[in-house]
Amino acid sequence: MSSITIKRPEAIEPAPKLDKKALSADHPTWCPGCGDFAVLASFFKVVQNLGIPHEQICTIAGIGCSSRFPYFVNGHGVHYIHGRAIPLATGVSLSRPDLNVFVFGGDGDGFSIGGNHLEHAARKNLNLTYVIMDNFVYGLTKKQTSPTSPVGFKSKTDPWGAQDEPVNPMRKLVASGATFVARTHAAQVNHMSEMFERAIKHPGFSVVEVLSECVVFFKGSFDAANPRKGGEFPLIPEKQWDDSPDDWKAHDTTDLSKAIKLAEEPWPGKFGVFYEVERTTKNANEQALIADAQAKVGNASSQEILAKRFARMR
């Protein structure tokens, strides 16, 4: 059978168990107080909990404050171009089933310049985990309106207050066909870690929107969802499918129209898993194509397959 040769040592010592020190790379260049620090800490914790081997971690990002993430993780990583991290991660995920592929990025990167890619990766159900660090503003470029900026937000490009209807991330993601869609808050570390862990375990395209405050350009943006700042952090009660008396009232995460309805709730809305279904991944579909094609050519080597192709053109 013709397949790609992989050279690797017969036996490799298990990597030392990962701790925060082994996982830390550069000290983050984020502003003190930036919500993204907590996202990083939470990611470290989950990667350790799940026991992911060091060499199998691959973080990929576009451009933005949040997209600098890969520099702060000591793992294989890519700092790519603005908005295109998802299609690059597509190539990594599809051709390397041995890896754990994580994409990190901002609201501008994901919903604006990269919006089309998000749509298609969700629809194709690529096997990777995507964390959107949503701060409702363009941080790196210093305070322009972002696709999630609320109407009225005063930015350098809308000094009189943003006018355009913002993207509703949960609605967009559920409607696009993502198979795991969750929402959390960078100030709620345990909840955030729980969402990450479930997203990583989910087979397919899993997205977590993290409300991660930009303390410089949109201070206080997420206070309404932070009990420590006088807000509320209302969780989605998920159906347990048991006989408990109130279970019928809880959210069925496999119900698309209910998930959309939940996404329509007024600010600050609810937190937790909005939608979670299993659907064949593109990764599995491509592997099935390979398996079928290889079954047809039997034990032929790649040279024999190509020689046959040429023989047809004689």
């Binding site: 294989h76 890896l99 397959i305």
Partner: protein
């Protein structure tokens, strides 16, 4: 005769009419003009394959309407026993299916040429005595032969039968090739095809058979030959070069490459992904390459423009990649189904920043195969993006060539996941780039982040001015090392003389033919062909010194300053005022006489 063939409805005919032919010719140009839905491409392809099988040389040329519903279309085949380098300036034989086919193409027929037309459709002006007219009721005779309402379907095969008879082609082999082409389909399709073919073959043509010419038999090469188009050769070359992954977005004339790779690659354990747009396509291809699987993406001009930002990243991050650009007429949507060579500057300089990358161009269909292998080798060796500039004419025309020796050229890809040593540096200042693909254990404990930011030897971002200069030089010097590997191309023709023609890409054939013709007329001249456009092979200045005038022949505009794109590059490189341009932008391949006229114009002005 193949036993698969149904018995011919006609009476048996005397085989081999060599004796009655008044003359033999080296080659013949046959133009078949109809509508795209008539299947004229199919018969053109069959003729080309026959030529390959009989050791004849062949070049085809076709036009496709850019409208979806089809429309006027031609397929031209030039078959001969010598070296065939261009589709031909004029036709010896025209088959006209419709009035519009006759009207548009009679002017392409040479004086004394034969116009065979469908007398059910065409009313030619027979008072024009320059041509010989042969009426054949293609439509009704096909209906009669095949029966039923299949008239539009079998006409092409009927015409092929006629051509087989007129040119006394190897009928047995042709039937075999037809059977193979239609064999996998519904049985009745093959039956009808052969019925129409036989009827055409048996159709009484009278004395034109005496007028017609006999192709000189080709000398047997003893080698197995194949016939295919440039896009197919390119796709197969990528596979031979060890490329197993890719991503693309459809656009004419690139789509057939991605369609074939999508189907072929899974057999080899690889995959080709149809992306949502060209930005995603190149990004996914870069994802494959980053993951350790050298990948391909491709497009035509508009899509190449969309890939420019990512290409710049590939240069900076030093990720190997192959980008195929099948050039067509531009700017913008331009002339989607016509040929042009106007993306050279975009290929070399299109991205932002100092962004060195390799640019290659194949000279003919066979070379599409070999250049893809070379592109893969260069991309791997230097961790650099390589752009291959093909064009619309190469992409769709069929040529016959010696079947490649796969044992010699085949490259087996390897994904190396051996642990990286503690002293690993991805971008050493004094050695070639080496990546540790994800999945690699880093013995030293530090894992690499591949970035588009300027970085140090470890890949760590830095804006240190000194390092930016060093790293910029490092990326450029990879191309200088490649340049040092290249050999000065040989000239074709006189070793020194009055004129040197310089070409790149698909103008190879017509330029060479122009040289042959002009040398026969006593001019001392030669041609040189550049397959490597960035970097160029060394030593060109010495070759240029041996000629009085240098003409760069290319299918693009002469620009504001009077030079085409390659001529501009050569002038800036060599500061040589002898370098001039012969350019054109009519969306058609160069005719020999156009090249000669370009030289004559110059001589007339300077005389």
């Amino acid at each position: 005769m193949s036993t698969a063939a149904p018995s011919s409805p006609s009476e048996p005919r005397v085989s081999g009419r060599h004796s009655v032919r008044s003359k033999t010719v080296d080659d013949a140009v046959i133009r078949i003009a109809g509508n795209s839905q008539d299947g004229i491409q199919t018969i053109g392809g069959l003729l080309a394959r026959l030529a390959g099988r009989t050791d004849q040389d062949v070049i085809t040329y076709m036009t496709i309407p850019s409208t979806i519903s089809g429309g006027p279309s031609i397929f031209q085949v030039r078959i001969g026993s010598g070296e065939i380098l261009s589709p031909g300036d004029q036709a010896d034989f025209l088959v006209a299916f419709y009035e519009h086919s006759y009207k548009s193409h009679i002017g392409f027929l040479r004086e004394g040429g034969i116009c065979l037309y469908d007398s059910d459709e065409v009313k030619p002006d027979t008072s024009d005595k320059r041509f010989v007219y042969v009426p054949v009721p293609l439509t009704s005779a096909t209906v009669e032969a095949v029966g039923g309402t299949a008239k539009d379907r079998g006409k092409n095969m009927f015409a092929l039968g006629l051509l087989c008879s007129v040119f006394d082609l190897d009928r047995e082999r042709l039937v075999e090739i037809i059977s193979r082409q239609f064999g996998s389909k519904d049985e009745s399709i093959l039956r009808n095809a052969l019925l129409a073919f036989d009827a055409g073959y048996a159709y009484p043509l009278g004395d034109i058979l005496d007028l017609a010419f006999q192709l000189k038999p080709a000398t047997a090469s003893g080698k197995t030959r194949v016939a295919t188009d440039g896009n197919t050769a390119m796709a197969l070359g990528l596979i031979a070069g060890g490329v197993r992954h890719g991503a693309g977005y459809p656009i004419t004339p690139w789509s057939p490459i991605m369609e074939q790779l999508r189907v072929e690659l899974p057999q080899y354990g690889g995959m080709f992904i149809q992306s949502e747009d060209e930005l995603a396509a190149i990004s996914t291809a870069l994802g494959f390459s980053y993951a350790g699987h050298l990948a391909v993406t491709g497009s035509a001009g508009p899509g190449l423009s969309l890939k420019m930002e990512a290409l710049s990243w590939a240069t900076m991050a030093e990720i190997p990649l192959i980008v195929i650009n099948v050039q067509r007429g531009g700017p913008s949507t331009g002339l989607p189904t016509s040929v042009e060579q106007s993306d050279l500057m975009q290929a070399i300089y299109g991205s932002h920043g100092d962004c060195p990358r390799v640019v290659l161009a194949p000279k003919d269909v066979e070379d599409c195969f070999y250049i893809a292998i070379e592109a893969a080798r260069i991309a791997r060796k230097y961790s650099v993006p390589v752009i291959i500039l093909s064009d619309q004419a190469l992409s769709s025309r069929i040529e016959a060539f010696t079947e490649p020796d796969l044992a010699k050229v085949m490259v087996e890809p390897v994904l190396d996941l051996n642990p990286a040593p503690a002293e690993y540096k991805p971008y050493p200042l004094n050695a070639e780039t080496r990546h540790a693909p994800p999945g690699t254990r880093m013995t030293g404990g530090t894992y690499p982040v591949v970035t588009g930011l300027e970085h140090d030897e470890m890949g760590h971002p830095t804006s240190n001015p000194d390092l930016h200069m060093k790293m910029t030089a490092r990326r450029r010097n990879k191309l200088r090392r490649l340049e040092a590997e290249l050999k000065t191309p040989e000239v074709y023709g006189d070793a020194n003389g009055e004129i040197l023609l310089v070409g790149w890409g698909s103008t190879y054939g017509p330029i060479r033919e122009a040289v042959t013709q002009l040398r026969e007329q006593g001019l001392k001249l030669a041609a040189i062909h550049l397959r490597h456009l960035h970097p160029m092979a060394p030593g060109l200045e010495k070759v240029f010194d041996r000629y009085d005038h240098i003409f760069v022949v290319e299918m693009n505009d002469e620009g504001v300053y009077g030079q085409g794109q390659l001529a501009t590059l050569l002038r800036s490189r060599f500061c040589n005022p002898k370098i001039r341009s012969i350019c054109k932008t009519d969306g058609l391949t160069f005719k020999i006489r156009e090249i000669i006229a370009g030289i004559d114009d110059f001589i007339a002005v300077t005389a």
